[in-house]
Symmetry: C2
Subunit: 348 residues, 2 copies
């Protein structure tokens, strides 16, 4: 017999992108930043360690919220911090979606949303993106029991964005909160922070993993109207952000020059990668994230992924039912991308 | 209107012990270790920072599990790590207890269990400890929908332990898993790790917050039979432990001499605190944790708590419905306890 809930027993569990702990790989599979975090992060961590770690951290991560609020033009009580944005997504799901209720997400997109629905014992309604990665009004259908919608913007694997105008239209029409997952928004031309003020149903989530090169540290946050944020605070674990993560994240967002410079380098390399993959015969949609989605009309891409892996270059092979497969390649340094491109050249 | 689930809307949210971020307090309210973590922790963190934080951490926290498995005499796949043991307790609740089902806990004990039930939309059945802090067979009644039981051992606020024999009896009789929350077990004479092998329903949780002086870092873990651990891995966030916490926790448990020495000092101070409080007229049950529960038959203790706070000494005032109130005082250094005792002397 099992003691687990039926929905837990039935689910397979989310499989994250491969994180080899040893060996030398060029890692272009999980959208990490190829540049190290600003040095201020190291200094902030060392200073915080020197104060001792015996005491519980600030449950509200006040230091981070004060600085982030300034930078984003909101008040601190609009911000809820989490142990990575996955923690924030988990809290959102637990706060809004009960057993037997429904969560909506576009597809192809971030597959962790489905896992969150499964853990909650809820249904996950996947609405197919149009072929041009726009999203039809099917996304705003009022289904019985629909309690939350997730919209990654920029989306993964495509790197495409819906415009803030379109996001606002969707949010206003939906019967439930719309979480705009902006894990990659620092690489995009627009974002939806301003919509939070205009519509209480818009909740924006952000991550420091990608744009701030802090995936190893786990820090993300939500921006929501204060009555929504207060409800989320009840659901998160009381001390979900550790003292080092709070100190490091605060130092990271404070270094705006570092972000501007790193963002610039990644956007330049992204254009170069996009052009090169097109030259090699791939269909590549313009990305606003730090990765590029590559589809090939004629050649199977799975063997390419496997050969790259044998050559110690990790990219992400994705195969979406009813959509097709492709390679999602993170924007590494130009040197890393050259190694990857040279290998792909031999395979096409 | 609200978008939150009814159970979330209705709940008040867990209020953790006060964590003043500024000012000079003697903090004896949240059972932190008064001694700094071993220096190996600082070195491990600095070495890990030097490797860079841009990449995701190991989702399985393998390094920690290997070392902890050796120390505990289990296999690594018996261990599931979490972002503090609160995260582990959250994962356990989500894994086993569905909406409308039941979770059981003794009372007075850790009030966060009730919050976890509330978030899950489940009922929390509180079974009263006997006056001598033993637990009657009411705890093993087979109620409809009972899916999980939590037993803090040592318990808070009492610091008392049930014997491993009694815990095994309870586990074998219960229709559901029994989580033995051993956040304070490093200060006790016995623990229940060996029971995990003997009964698949026993799941032991541990924290590095108290005995290893790492509350600021957030690291805890569960020990369970491997088929149980595998189910829990599906429910936890994929990268719930950050790279610095994994490195620091691994270094901390490796320093057995530090633990033995710190444990010894705390146990000595605990005896001293217990004796002094008894001299001052308090009823104090012998504690196996790093805190002491103080009840006074004649004097109200709430004003003492308030006066201590005014004097910048924080202890925990607890008032349990149907049981009564008291002061839970963490075992600080002898110097901290002297300040606290001198103040209390003037109030009795």
């Amino acid at each position: 017999m099992t003691y687990f809930r039926d929905n837990i027993e039935a689910m397979r569990g989310y499989v994250p992108g491969e994180q080899p702990q040893g060996g030398k790989f060029i890692k272009l599979n999980t959208n990490e930043n190829p540049y190290p975090a600003p040095d201020a992060v190291r200094r902030a961590i060392e200073a915080r360690v020197a104060q001792g770690l015996a005491k519980y951290p600030d449950p509200s991560a006040t230091a981070f919220r004060l600085r982030a609020a300034e930078l984003l033009g909101v008040e601190p009580d609009w911000i809820v911090c989490g142990n990575g944005s996955d923690d924030v997504l988990t809290v959102l799901t637990r706060a809004f979606v009960g057993e037997g209720q429904r969560l909506r997400t576009p597809t192809p997109s971030y597959i962790f949303y489905r896992t969150l629905a499964e853990i909650q014992g809820a249904a996950c309604e996947e609405i197919r993106f149009n072929d041009d990665w726009s999203l039809s009004d099917e996304f705003i259908t009022n289904t019985d029991g629909l309690r939350l919608a997730f919209l990654p913007n920029p989306n993964s694997p495509s790197g495409t964005c819906l415009s803030p105008q379109r996001v606002l239209e969707l949010a206003e029409a939906l019967p439930c909160p719309l979480v705009v997952d902006e894990a990659y928004a620092d690489f995009a031309e627009t974002n939806c922070i301003d919509l939070v003020r205009r519509c209480e149903k818009v909740i924006v989530t952000r991550s420091l993993s990608k744009s701030y090169a802090l995936a190893g540290l786990r820090f993300g946050f939500a921006v929501a109207q204060p009555h929504i944020a207060a409800g989320l605070m009840k659901v998160k674990d009381p001390c979900n952000c550790d003292a080092l993560a709070i100190a490091a994240a605060t130092a990271a967002i404070d270094d705006e020059a570092w972000l501007a410079e790193t963002r610039g380098k990644i956007i330049t390399s992204r254009a170069r990668l996009t052009a090169a993959m097109r030259t090699l015969g791939f269909a590549v949609v313009d990305s606003q994230a730090n990765f590029v989605w590559n589809v090939h009309a004629e050649l199977p891409v799975r063997p390419m992924f496997e050969e790259l892996r044998r050559q110690r270059v990790l990219v992400r092979y994705m195969d979406y039912a009813g959509w097709g497969d492709g390679l999602r390649i993170s924007v590494g340094t130009d040197e890393q991308l050259d190694v990857c491109l040279d290998l792909i050249k031999k395979l096409v």
